[in-house]
Amino acid sequence: MNAATEIAEATHTLAVLVDDEPGVLARVIGLFSGRGYNIESLTVSSVDTAAHLSRITIVTTGTPQIIAQIKAQLGRLVPVHSVHDLTLEGPHLERELALIKIRNVGEHRIEALRIADMFRARAIDSTLESFVFELTGSPSKISAFVELMSALGAIEVSRTGVVAIARGSNLDMPVFSTLEVNRKKAKQPAGKKAQKKA
């Protein structure tokens, strides 16, 4: 069976733990562009400075075969520690942060505040003719808010893209916090430690 083109595409959210080193993001992005995979959103940040680890969250679409291929290709990169398909592995949370600037006056200005209140968006900057709202939530909630705001004035939008994590108590992709590294160091007998230093 090779009717890959007839099989429906689905959106998957992937969490990728990588070495925090120069070029690692370029490797991941180059892989997607070079092999023609989609990126709907990509976020990256260092999550553990002591162990030099970054976590990349990628939202991508494809047939099951393509998604499997993307995961295998990511796993093959030398600085990649692990790849988790949050969409396949069970319930997970997805959140996005957005900053929305709206410029308007009069009634529209009041309506914007009212809607912002409903969405639990906070006004974090204001002039007499503008607001900047901060909003977190699912990508669809943010899109709905942006749509409403655009009806009330000229807007500018900055969105982070999705960050995601699995629900439940499992640590699928634990990181070695500075704290933990320190704790391990403390467990070593003093003599050994001294020897090493010498």
Binding site: N2, L17, Q73, R76, F176
Partner: protein, 596 residues
């Protein structure tokens, strides 16, 4: 789970400058030969080579050739090939070789010079973003910005290049790092925090694979370059398993030599220019055992009609090869040699015997395909047929210690079809990338590794011109490489496709203004020979073989001979053209036309 990169707490073995650290690290990794070309940014390394005499340096005439030579060296020995080039143009010239090594999974470590750290990004003289340029054409690459990390980076580069699915690794070296004093650390077992290729196959999957094999009525083994990369042991184990199961085997272009060509169970190469029996056996089999091959488009033909009724087992060291082109039923990740050993163990432990009755029927069927003699060609009494030239070359070198490299095109396919290989590491060709100009430098690398052997570059005249400057390297190191130029005065494969797919409009495919290859050979200090008629051929081959200098044998062959059998682009295995007479039936589909 992630493990952090442990800070280096080892005690350095010695303090030395960066250039010396590099040479010491290469030496400790067992590197004996480096193919390279000097330039400003790598002068400190060349100075160290001059002073230390630790490593043999082979001076090529173009950086692309350095990588191909290292590929030939690597593929004929199983060792890592090492390359040293300068920054900027040195690195960009190496890109074709690196891509070639990536496509064919050849272990290469390529050291590139770089402008000093403080000048990176300033568009300095001979600066190029080497790690950026080579990111998509290497297995991994490094930019060393700290001399304390230098020794471990070189160790790691060699380790990454040769383990798992082998490939090229670039280490970019800013010039100030080469001068800086730093610690040398000896190799320490190469524990890597995130790169951990799987070697052993999953036990239960292997058991299921062996059960499938034992119950198969029409099995076939389909072996690829992974068998060669897994070392000669893999080929031995492969042959043992094939013989125990009495199943037929075919090999890909990259796998030739993994199973003895003269054996009855060998059906020849498969794919676009593979044999009729191999392709039809693939189409009709019920269990396909793919060991170390990657379902390349040259092999599968039209995917929707690729072996539609078989259960497919795919053994590969690279998880990303699984289900990439063809969806398989049973993937097994791991090293080919290890998995074959595991499979043999299970086969023997379960007391399986070859499935005699159905196999007899299967072989009877295969023999009817074989009787079509798809590689037969009409001999000519005066004009040399290219197939005949390769056949005679094979027959006249059979009792020699022979290594064959090729360029890319018709001659390459004829060499794959008519030259038989009885053991691995004897056949060096550019499979995945199809790099014209590969054969001569590759042969150079092979000859460096095997000084006493007969090394022959089976070439086309057009490909040969792409790296002909390396004749100067052959002269410098007295490498008696034999170039067997199958000269039809056309870019033969281009001409063939123009004939078959583009209405015979031979746009720019004629090899215009060819040099006199005899004079070329002589100008470089070698020997030139020419055969123009069939009765001159054997004499020229024998003289070529007996000459102890490098030889260009210019074999003038029939100009418009096409390479058959052939699966037209976008067609299925059962739609093979066996010869020129089949041409009338040929109609490359519109879908096929857009494929390469």
């Amino acid at each position: 789970m992630a493990t952090p990169r442990t800070p280096n707490t080892r005690k350095p073995d010695a303090q030395m400058n960066g250039a010396a650290i590099i040479l010491k690290a290469l030496q400790d990794q067992g590197v004996e030969v480096v193919f390279g070309y000097p330039g400003g940014a790598v002068l400190p390394i060349y100075d160290e080579i001059f002073k230390s005499n630790r490593i043999r340096h082979i001076l090529v005439r173009h950086e692309q050739a350095a990588v191909h030579a290292a590929e030939g060296y690597a593929r004929s020995t199983g060792k890592v090939g090492c390359v040293l080039v300068t920054s900027g143009p040195g690195a960009t010239n190496a890109v074709t070789g690196l891509t070639d090594a990536l496509m064919d999974s050849i272990p290469i470590v390529c050291l590139t010079g770089q402008v000093p750290t403080h000048l990176i990004g300033n568009d300095a003289f001979q600066e190029a973003d080497t790690t950026g340029i080579t990111r998509p054409c290497t297995k991994h690459n490094y930019l060393v910005k700290d001399v304390t990390r230098l020794a471990d980076t070189i160790h790691e580069a060699v380790y990454v290049a040769k383990t798992g699915r082998p490939g090229p690794v670039v280490v970019d070296l800013p010039k100030d790092i080469l001068f800086a004093e730093g610690p040398y650390y000896a190799p320490n077992g190469n524990a890597h925090p995130s790169y951990k290729p799987q070697v052993k196959g999953d036990e239960s999957a292997i058991e299921r694979a062996v059960d499938l094999l034992a119950k198969a009525k029409r099995p076939i083994f389909y072996g690829g370059g992974g068998l060669i990369n897994a070392g000669p042991k893999a080929s031995k184990l492969y042959a043992e398993l094939v013989r125990l199961t009495q199943a037929p085997t075919t090999l890909t272009l990259m796998g030739l030599g993994a199973y003895p060509s003269q054996d009855r169970q060998f059906l020849g190469m498969l794919g676009m220019h593979g044999t009729y029996e191999a392709n039809l056996a693939m189409y009709n089999c019920d269990v396909m055992m793919n060991i170390g091959a990657r379902f390349d488009d040259r092999v599968t033909g039209r995917i929707s009609d690729f072996s539609p009724n078989s259960t497919k087992v795919h053994v590969d060291v690279d998880p990303s090869s699984i289900n990439k082109n063809v969806v398989v039923d049973l993937p097994i990740i791991g090293d080919a040699a290890t998995i074959l050993e595991q499979m043999l163990k299970v086969w023997k432990a379960k007391g399986y015997k070859a499935n005699a009755k159905p196999l007899e029927k299967w072989w009877a069927q295969i023999e009817t395909w074989r009787e079509r003699k798809c590689l037969a060609f009409t001999e000519d009494t005066s004009v040399i047929k290219p197939q005949h030239a390769i056949k005679r070359l094979y027959e006249l070198t059979r009792d020699r210690d022979t290594y064959i490299t090729t360029e890319v095109g018709q001659h390459q396919m004829w060499a794959a079809q008519y030259f038989g290989f009885e053991e691995p590491n004897r056949w060096m060709t550019s499979g995945g990338l199809g790099t014209m100009g590969y054969g001569l430098p590759a042969a150079m690398g092979v000859q460096i590794a095997h000084p006493e052997a007969t090394v022959i570059d089976v070439a086309g005249e057009a490909s040969y011109l792409m790296n002909i400057q390396e004749l100067s390297t052959l002269a410098q190191y007295r490498l008696p490489v034999k170039s067997f130029i199958v000269n039809n005065q056309w870019m033969g494969m281009v001409r063939q496709w123009q004939e078959l797919n583009h209405g015979g409009r031979y746009s720019e495919s004629y090899s215009e203004s060819l040099p006199d290859f005899i004079k070329v050979a002589e100008a470089f200090g070698g020997v030139g020979l020419r055969a123009e008629t069939v009765d001159q051929l054997d004499d020229v081959i024998m003289e070529m073989l007996e000459t102890d200098r490098f030889v260009l044998a210019d074999i003038m062959v029939k100009k418009d001979e096409n390479c058959f059998p052939m699966i037209p682009s976008g067609a299925a295995h059962y739609e093979m053209l066996l010869g020129p007479d089949d041409k009338a039936e040929l109609e490359t589909s519109e879908n096929g036309m857009v494929l390469v």
